[in-house]
Symmetry: C2
Subunit: 355 residues, 2 copies
């Protein structure tokens, strides 16, 4: 989906990374220790000096030499928001790898904004972690420059936006997952299949719904834009958008709910309208949170290996920080798989078309 960065640009960047700390200091008109202080995120530097030094670090593409000994035994883990139940799976995965490596995990929340605040970047520079993992959250240019100049590696997990071709990332096969979910419903005989998308600013939402569309089109079924509604990946949105879909005179006999929480919201909407799952409505989720197995009926869903993805992200970021790094793949998508449970069934005879 992204065009890779032209090779020339990369080469230019690399050849520019030759300025020494002393040269930066000279150009900024400050002492070398002052530049060090800025690099270490120390508070005792005037804001204007700090800004000047940061700007020179950025334009020169300065990269601090990696020094294992000066790093703190920490990994930074930054969430877009901690509310979602699947954050726990991610935390566990990162915690597993961190523990084995003798590191602790520093948790931050970017509080719903898609890039963490400036203060956060300063704190990270000051505490010098082994690496930074961003979950559904990106970095702006200056934050990337700040981490790069300190040689603090970072990895984006399940990119919400389009992180750029040179940003290491771990994702899941969202498009394939949307395809598999919808094909399952088509194979059961459904022809009117709705979808509740996640927020459209997140690439993973778009990929899932594109997979849904591809399944319908390759099966020769029409894609009805009226059957595609947009939520925000939370339970409440699944409930509200679910009510909207199910109150249509030509309501769908099956819905791909975008994620598990929206699927649970849809369950509630169906209950409220007296529709039984799967007899009157088939539902497929996405994520396979623990709760998917516990609800009644247990939810058919696309399993996203969240814990394994988080483990892969943690291993990748630690590897990026090593002088003798082994891995070359810095954009990885782990496979999703369909878990068929009891929330899907063939449509009831004679009810396939009618409302």
């Amino acid at each position: 989906m992204t065009s890779p960065q032209p090779a020339e640009t990369r080469t230019q960047k690399r050849s520019a990374q030759t300025a020494t700390l002393a040269e930066i200091a000279r150009e900024a008109g400050v002492s070398a220790p002052t530049v060090s202080k800025v690099l270490n995120g120390r508070a005792d530097v005037a804001p204007s000096t700090r800004a000047r030094v940061e700007e020179l670090l950025r334009t020169h593409g300065y990269r601090r030499r990696r020094a294992e000994s000066t790093r703190s035994p920490l990994i930074d883990l930054v969430f877009h928001e901690l509310e979602s139940a699947w954050a726990m799976e991610v935390i566990r995965g990162v915690e597993n790898v961190a523990r084995d490596a003798g590191l602790s995990v520093v948790l931050s929340e970017s509080a719903g904004r898609l890039t963490p605040g400036r203060t956060w970047a300063d704190q990270v520079a000051a505490r010098r972690p082994h690496g930074v993992i961003l979950v559904l959250s990106g970095l702006d240019e200056s934050q990337r420059a700040l981490l790069t100049s300190r040689s603090i590696p970072f990895v984006v997990m399940d990119p919400a936006g389009d992180p750029g071709a040179d940003v290491p990332s771990i994702g899941a096969t969202n498009w394939q997952g949307g395809l598999a979910a919808t094909r399952h419903l088509v194979d059961l005989g459904h022809t009117r299949i709705g979808a509740i998308s996640g927020p459209t600013r997140m690439m993973c939402s778009r990929a899932r719904v594109d997979g849904y569309r591809a399944a319908l089109e390759t099966a020769g079924l029409p894609v009805d834009p009226g059957l595609i509604v947009t939520g925000d990946f939370h339970h409440e949105a699944g409930y509200r958008q679910g009510l909207e879909l199910l109150r249509r005179p030509d309501r769908p006999t099956a819905v791909f709910a975008g994620n598990d929480l929206q699927a649970l919201g849809l369950y509630e909407a169906a209950r409220e309208l007296g529709l039984r799952i799967p007899h009157d409505l088939s539902v497929v989720g996405f994520d396979d949170l623990p709760v998917a197995r516990w609800v009644g009926p247990p939810l058919t869903t696309v399993r996203q290996p969240l814990m394994e993805m988080a483990e892969a992200a943690a291993r990748l970021v630690l590897d990026l920080g090593r002088e003798d790094r082994s891995s070359t793949a810095t954009r990885v998508e782990l496979a999703t798989s369909l878990e068929v449970r009891s929330s899907t069934a063939p449509p009831r005879e004679g009810r396939d078309v009618a409302g």
Copy 2:
């Protein structure tokens, strides 16, 4: 439940806290900078020297003078285990307070053991956080001594064991919650009420079941030990122990499930046996996790204000670290409340006694 520490002991401890760093060094036969290194968790001290210094710090009750400036902008949050869904609520609460105070949260898991490992304590000493919050997890004597000598305050949230009268802690009114849950079932007309306890080594489990017993006894109902089974607060235990309870010839018409996850396991057991909730079986949980509202039928449960408890713990630990600390209450229990939803109803007529 614990007898408070005698006043004399406390006074003795306090008066012994007069040894200076130089005196500790002299007695240990090392230089003062070496003692500093030990206090700062630096690695370049021989293990035997380190042990000798730690022992002297402990016996002299040494307390480092609080120095705001040398602290890292961190709060340590330690979980017994991260698996449980309610860990997320706690993380969010601590994160809220930390963010407002400009601090980041370091997350650790004691991996199922009830006290975090020795390495953890060393890491905490080295990173000098503003404070430590332990969730369902205690500290052993040497870990407490280590934190105390570094003047790193700590608070235990929802104590699993018995933390000792002088350990600051935040809990919930577990006994009152068990009482309210069971009284609700008694008031509906149930007379055969089962209970699934959490692990008996956790005080909160015991308190809840004691509340259950008190409700039965004060209602003049017999307490049948055969109707009290023990789980581990996870879904699977609720399912297995639930099956055991429900397969009894004299099965209960209602069950207090100990927590929400066990209640969801019990839902599954009931589904498997063809018992409808609440028609054939009433269920009450404990915690009020978000999922309690989403399951079918929505779960009647005892709300434990987890996020508020975590916020209170974070505020308390930050307050304990201030020279001019204001709060005096260091053992707090926040109130629980019964949330009546759709999983409880009067027992069906004529089925009250029979299996």
